[in-house]
Symmetry: C2
Subunit: 199 residues, 2 copies
């Protein structure tokens, strides 16, 4: 026998969530129907509201339900520093460290010719326009340390070459608290090459 049509529809719909396979989706569907109908309705409402209201900040392109996000609207940050990230979740990660006081720019992905994602999809024109305005002194490229992230960082660096702006890339190295034994060779090579003198 199969599940009833609406139940099957719910199980299928739950699989759009990352990390949710057929068994988890089934468990979630039964849990919601049997034990948390209120939670299910709240979730449905939250999804609809979020999709309807959350757009992108006009200035930094992060997810925001207002035209200019909280960070871009703030006037107490350093206008001279701009950090380029791949996604809004990276912005939250950097912001949570509390170690950066400048502004952000979210690409919303990385260059990927195979998937047809070019500079225009990542708002690189908008980024260059902002850099040409002249307020930014240093551009920090904090795209992911993957092949695509590196390529995107290099592409942006090339575009900025003729402007009088310092361009930097976040450091590669061994993670804090990690053990050398378990660090991959590429990372270790970067950590050695990027060594800093202590005294």
């Amino acid at each position: 026998m199969s599940f009833s049509p609406l139940l099957q529809q719910l199980i299928t719909a739950l699989r759009c969530l990352p990390g949710v396979g057929p068994k988890s989706a089934q468990r979630m569907a039964f849990h919601l129907l049997e034990r948390d109908q209120q939670g299910a309705l709240t979730l449905a409402g939250a999804l609809e509201q979020a999709i309807d209201k959350i757009g992108r900040c006009g200035s930094c392109r992060t997810l925001s339900e207002v035209e200019t996000c909280e960070i871009c609207a703030s006037t107490s940050r350093d206008k001279g520093m701009l950090c380029v990230l791949e996604s809004p979740v990276d912005l939250f990660a950097v912001e949570q460290t509390g170690g950066f006081g400048g502004y952000y720019f979210v690409l919303g992905g990385h260059l990927s010719p195979i998937d047809g994602i070019g500079p225009e999809d990542l708002g690189i024109d908008q980024l260059l326009e902002r850099l040409r305005a002249g307020e930014v002194r240093e551009l920090i490229l904090a795209t992911n340390p993957t092949v695509e992230g590196e390529a995107t960082a290099h592409y942006i660096a090339e575009q900025v070459r003729d402007l009088d702006i310092k361009v930097s890339r976040i450091a590669h190295g061994v993670p804090v608290g990690g053990e050398l034994e378990y660090v991959d060779g590429g990372t270790l090579a970067h950590a050695l090459a990027g060594r800093r003198s202590l005294i």
Copy 2:
């Protein structure tokens, strides 16, 4: 900084799903907003429809969007066999084995005086009424092999004692494909006590 209100609301709402903690909920929210807005809307619709339309079968109490579920509506099954289960998901599990051709009755939980769940919450009156109608020859108690499940099975068996119905309990024993070494003592003791002669 914190997430914007609607984003935070979505992350909180996603946590009603079983097995979803704060980090997973955050990942799911960003995934839906950045990469699968259509999936999010489909999920919202499926949740609303499921909660609105899926109720309980009037006959066996399993989840069903019609008054009488597919199984109860079927006339080709053995009316003499009735299998009592704790939840609809157990019904699907038993049904998927293809080894049972009778009808089902879903309690929707187990007796739990601490949580205030008594016989009336599990529809035991409805079950007894059905048994008194006289068509059922054998009642198979397939509640979970937990303390509460056993207690519920024993309670039902007591109620049925004065009716002329055979009452059975699913067998406890070693799982097929398991290794004795890893089977817990209680299960092994049950497996020995319930041994069957081969020749």
